[in-house]
Symmetry: C2
């Protein structure tokens, strides 16, 4: 199924704009998982099984697997997601960016090896560094635009002519030129609601992946007000740590479910 | 040993500015390696053992390993390099870029898991996305500046005020602000010698990693003339495919050695 079709269906079916980010940190796992060799996989399975009916997508962050030599657990997690929760799209958060021949290898990694439905990509190297991902017509390609971290302003806020800032140029390039196949989205941090509103103005209905609520401090009401599309969807609002580590004991998955339910409903209050 | 110390020593010891890029593509391997489960490792070992005395560094491209589920072979390759060719620095070409907490995980991946001496990083997310790498004081951090691909101009060539282009701003930020610990370098493509010269002007003695000669068509004389530092070093001029696939038979490593020797000497002619 096309990523955008699956995303739209999940927005409706689960009445949710919430994306649960999977950034597994073994130092924060409950004690009963701590010493299992497959702790990362088991921890994440607990989270996804407890929240799959409350989200519009899941977003595993590949660095948290790679740092622990747990690529096999990431493969197994995504296979588990496709098997047990079909129709919930998986966005691989990898922020890759390289020349065409290398980007082709990253596309194989994300879409063939891990079977992700979408990938996050950096725009810094321009159009031909993104095109190899478009050769997978059903897959989503979500480009960094205005990121949620403080240093995001170092380059993204630069005026690139006529008062247009770099992140606005990226939004316009993606919406007007790179999105010919209708499979692009953009990353816009929840910490900057004015910029979310500006990006929404520039890109029509393009889906926006919005990290930065929860641990990073972004405001839910402002994010939803600024970023929702005309029909009240258009957003994947990502929360990771605030959900994954809502509880610290054997019932961590129940605690995660309560946190996800609460976040989903808080988001819905402002749609 | 500090990456910069090792790099300077290798420039002198091997009288070489050549960096051999390790982008292993099993479809292009000689027939005698084709069906080995460790073909990627064996192929790369053949290349590095045949060329280690001719280079200033090696640059494995992680996508070519990840696409083939060959992370273990990348680990083994870098271990082999450190053991058999100590003092030849290894630059992990990964072009990572993410918020601080995630960048910390990528730093663990590159420096603790793979034991690389340096990593390539994207500047798009700004200073706090780069800082976690600086916590490893002996390691090099090489930021994308002016990349060798055609789409590089889409963003990097934008005028960010007073005629300064985005890649010049990156060069200035890195040289003047981010390089406090003296472990930064920049990526500047060989396909744009004018921009190499401009970057050299802006950054003093900072080492430049220059991909794009060989298969990508960059001109060696122009690259060296534009990019060498005052003492005739300052460059890691990277060639991958033209060396890896110089020969297609059982003697591929000998062919790679001849191609590397020829490239090193051509580079040296213009220093």
């Amino acid at each position: 199924m096309h990523f955008m079709t699956a995303l739209r269906a999940a927005w409706q079916r689960n009445d949710s704009l919430l994306c649960v980010g999977l950034d597994p940190d073994p130092a924060r796992f409950p004690a009963h998982l701590a010493h299992r060799p497959d702790a990362i996989l088991e921890f994440c399975k607990g989270i996804v099984d407890a929240t799959a009916d409350l989200v519009c997508c899941f977003k595993p962050q590949i660095a948290y697997f790679a740092a622990h030599r747990a690529e096999d657990q990431l493969e197994a997690l995504i296979a588990h997601l496709h098997e047990r929760h079909p129709g919930v799209p998986v966005v691989l958060d990898a922020k890759r960016g390289d020349i065409g021949s290398t980007a082709g290898q990253y596309a194989v990694e994300a879409f063939e090896r891990y079977r992700a439905d979408a990938i996050t990509v950096s725009p810094y190297m321009g159009r031909d560094s993104v095109e190899p991902y478009f050769e997978y017509p059903d897959k989503g390609v979500i480009l960094l635009c205005r990121t949620s971290n403080p240093g995001g302003s170092d380059l993204q806020f630069l005026d690139v002519g006529g008062g247009e800032r770099l992140f606005e140029r990226v939004a316009r390039l993606v919406a007007d030129e790179w999105n010919a196949s209708g499979n692009c989205g953009l990353v816009v941090g929840a910490t900057f609601p004015n910029e979310i509103a500006r990006v929404r103005e520039l890109v029509g209905e393009l889906p926006l992946l919005v990290p930065g609520i929860g641990a990073q401090g972004g405001d839910v009401a402002a994010t939803v007000g600024a970023g929702r599309s005309a029909d009240g969807t258009g957003l994947m609002i990502s929360s990771s740590r605030a959900i994954l580590y809502a509880g610290g004991g054997e019932d961590y998955a129940d605690a995660a479910r309560r946190a996800a339910l609460d976040t989903r409903d808080t988001i819905n209050r402002y749609r």
